[in-house]
């Protein structure tokens, strides 16, 4: 699946997007964040306040308990500040 990052999450991760292949035991968004954090300091920094990070699966807002099975694109970003 593709992970995409926006705003300061993007800056901290150091990438706009990347292909990721989490193992099968990573079932939901919160677990995916924990898995990413274990991958390196840049992820640990981006997700240091994991509860504040918003996620979208295939361009729809989801909560951290949303299952990621079948997702093509998972986005992580700070709370929105448009408008």
């Amino acid at each position: 699946m593709k992970a995409v990052y926006f705003a300061w999450v993007r800056e901290r991760v150091g990438a706009t997007d990347e292909e990721i292949a989490p193992p099968a035991e990573v079932r939901n968004v919160g677990e995916l964040i924990a898995w990413l954090v274990a991958r390196g300091e840049n992820y640990a920094y981006a997700f240091e306040n994991a509860k504040a990070i918003r996620a979208a699966i295939d361009r729809k807002h989801v909560k951290h308990d949303a299952p990621i099975a079948g997702a093509r694109e998972i986005a992580f970003f700070p709370p929105m500040t448009g408008g």
Binding site: F6, A56, R59, K60, A75, P79, G83
Partner: protein, 150 residues
């Protein structure tokens, strides 16, 4: 509904919603502008999530059209670098009666603020790197009032 870098013509968008109609009694137009925050800001840079931004605004528009008896509505959100005094966002709502037009316009703005995937980064006049604008609790509260009502 459009997401674009270019400026928009609020009056033309409002006119398009009322042209040839004689059943419209109320047109509410909201324009959100970039402020310079006491002269400290050179520009705002708006990052967005292409694709999701359009889809999310369309979902919010559909909710407004379902909830209020509107004869039309438009929303345009810009992205990219925007200078103080320039427009960022436009919402136009059109209805037979003013209460529906006002409520729908406020709803759209509250939801755009808290659900549309846009993020503002400051560019400061003194050349120092600006911060990402923090989300405001008051915006969440403003959006939340539409859940409680009806």
């Amino acid at each position: 509904m459009r997401v674009q870098a270019a400026p928009f013509d609020a009056a033309a968008e409002a006119a398009a919603l009322t042209a040839g109609r004689t059943d419209v009694g109320a047109v509410v137009t909201f324009v959100g502008l970039c402020r310079d925050e006491g002269g400290t800001l050179a520009a705002l840079e708006l990052e967005h999530y292409p694709g999701m931004a359009e889809e999310e605004i369309s979902r919010v528009m559909a909710q407004a059209l379902e909830r209020w008896p509107l004869t039309g509505a438009t929303a345009i959100h810009r992205h990219g670098k925007i200078a103080p005094g320039e427009p960022i966002v436009l919402v136009v709502t059109v209805s037979a009666h003013r209460a529906a037009a006002f409520a729908a316009a406020e709803f759209l703005m509250d939801y755009l603020k808290t659900r549309a995937p846009f993020w503002k980064k400051e560019h400061r006049r003194d050349g120092t790197s600006g911060d990402w604008v923090a989300a405001k609790a008051e915006d969440d509260a403003a959006a939340g009032r539409w859940d409680r009502a009806t």
